[in-house]
Symmetry: C2
Subunit: 197 residues, 2 copies
Amino acid sequence: MSKKEDILKAATLLFATNGFKDTSMAELAHMTGAASATIFYHFKSKEELFLSVLSSVKDGILDEFSHYFGEKKFANGLEMLEGTVSFYLYLAGNKAEWFLLLHRYYPYKLAKENNACRHSLEDIYNCFVDIFEKALVQGQADGSIGKLSPRKTALLMLSTVDGIVRFKNCDLYDAGALYNELIATIRRMAANRNQKI
Amino acid sequence: MSKKEDILKAATLLFATNGFKDTSMAELAHMTGAASATIFYHFKSKEELFLSVLSSVKDGILDEFSHYFGEKKFANGLEMLEGTVSFYLYLAGNKAEWFLLLHRYYPYKLAKENNACRHSLEDIYNCFVDIFEKALVQGQADGSIGKLSPRKTALLMLSTVDGIVRFKNCDLYDAGALYNELIATIRRMAANRNQKI
DNA sequence: AGCCTAACTGACTGATCAGTTAGTTTTTAC
DNA sequence: GTAAAAACTAACTGATCAGTCAGTTAGGCT
C-alpha cells in the first residue's frame, strides 16, 4: 500500500475515534511512520485530508451496498427490507469507523460551507434512504408491505436503525440485544393490514 | 442573573454549537464580558465547566418532562405515547442547544472515563426511555397498545424520534415535514392488532 | 471606621498546533 | 547512465490555547 493510502486509512481511524480537532497531524504522522510534512505533500491541508477521508468513506459505503444488493435476491419487498436492516447493522459493526465518523457533528457542520463535503454526505444518505425506499416500493407492489409514503417511511426506518447504531457507538445501549425487536418493529412499521404477518 | 450563570448559559450555547475543543475560553470570556480568569475562578477547568453544563442540561430536561407529565392527563397509553413524541419534538425545537450537545460525540467519550459525566447522561436517557416505557405499560393495561417488550420498544421508539431530531439538527432532513408520518409510524409500532386504530 | 471574604481582572506562560521552507532521496523514463 | 519528476523529510514559525498569578474591587459584618 502506498504511503498516501496509509495516511488516508490512519486518518479515517483517528478522525472517527478522536474527531477533527482532536486529531493532530503530528500524531497521524507518527502513526504512519511519515514526517508530518509528508502529509502536507499529499494533502494540502487538514481540512482537505478530512474531505478525502469522507469521500473514501462514501465510496466504501456505496460499494458495499451495491455489492450486497447486486448479488442478493429477495423473495419480496419485506424480505429485502429485513435484509437492508441486517446489512446496515452488519456494516456498522464491520466498518465501525465509518459510522463513528458519520455520528460526529463535524462533517455536517463543514457541509454547511463546503460543497464537496455536502455532496459526500448527500450521496451517503441518499444511498441509505434509496435502498429502504426501493424495498418499500417493491413490497407495496408485491403486497408484502402496506400502503404508506415510501420516501418518508424509508427515512423513519433509517432513523430507527441508525439511532440504534448510534446508541451502540455511544455505549448507551447494546444493539445486538435489540436485534430481534428491531426486526419485529420494522415489520410492524411496514405492516400490510390486509394479511397476517 | 449572576456572572456564573451567565458563563454557564453562554458555555452551553458554545459547547452545543462549536463542540468542546472548538470552544475557546477566551471566546467564552469575551461573550460574557468577563475576564478569562473569572471563568477559572468559578470553574476550575474547561472540563469541569463542561460537566457543569451537562449537569444543568440534565436538570433542565428532567424538570421539563416532570412538569409536562405532572400536569397533562392522558385518556390512555397510546395518547400518552403520542404526547411524549410531540413533547420530545417540541423540546428539541425549543431547547435546540440541549439536543445539539447530546448529539455530539464528546459527552459520550468523556463518559467512558468520568463518572459524573456518565451519570448525567444515564439520568437523561433513563428519563427519556422511562417515559416511553410508562406510556407503553399503561397502554398495554388499558388495551390501547399491543403486546410487546415495553423496555425494548421504548428504546426503539426513542431511537426513531431522536434519530429524526438528529437528522434535523444535522440539516439532513426536515423534522416538521415528517411529523404526521412519525406519529403514524409510532402508532403502527405500538399497534394492538385486536382493535382498529 | 476597619476587616474579611468572595468576586473579579490584566498580564503572563509553556505547550501544542497547522502549516512552511529549503533541501535530500527515490523512482521513473529515455 | 542521467536528468527530470515525484516522494519524502528535519527544522522551523507564528498563532492559539488552557491555565496561572499577583494582585484589585465590592459588599457584608462588627
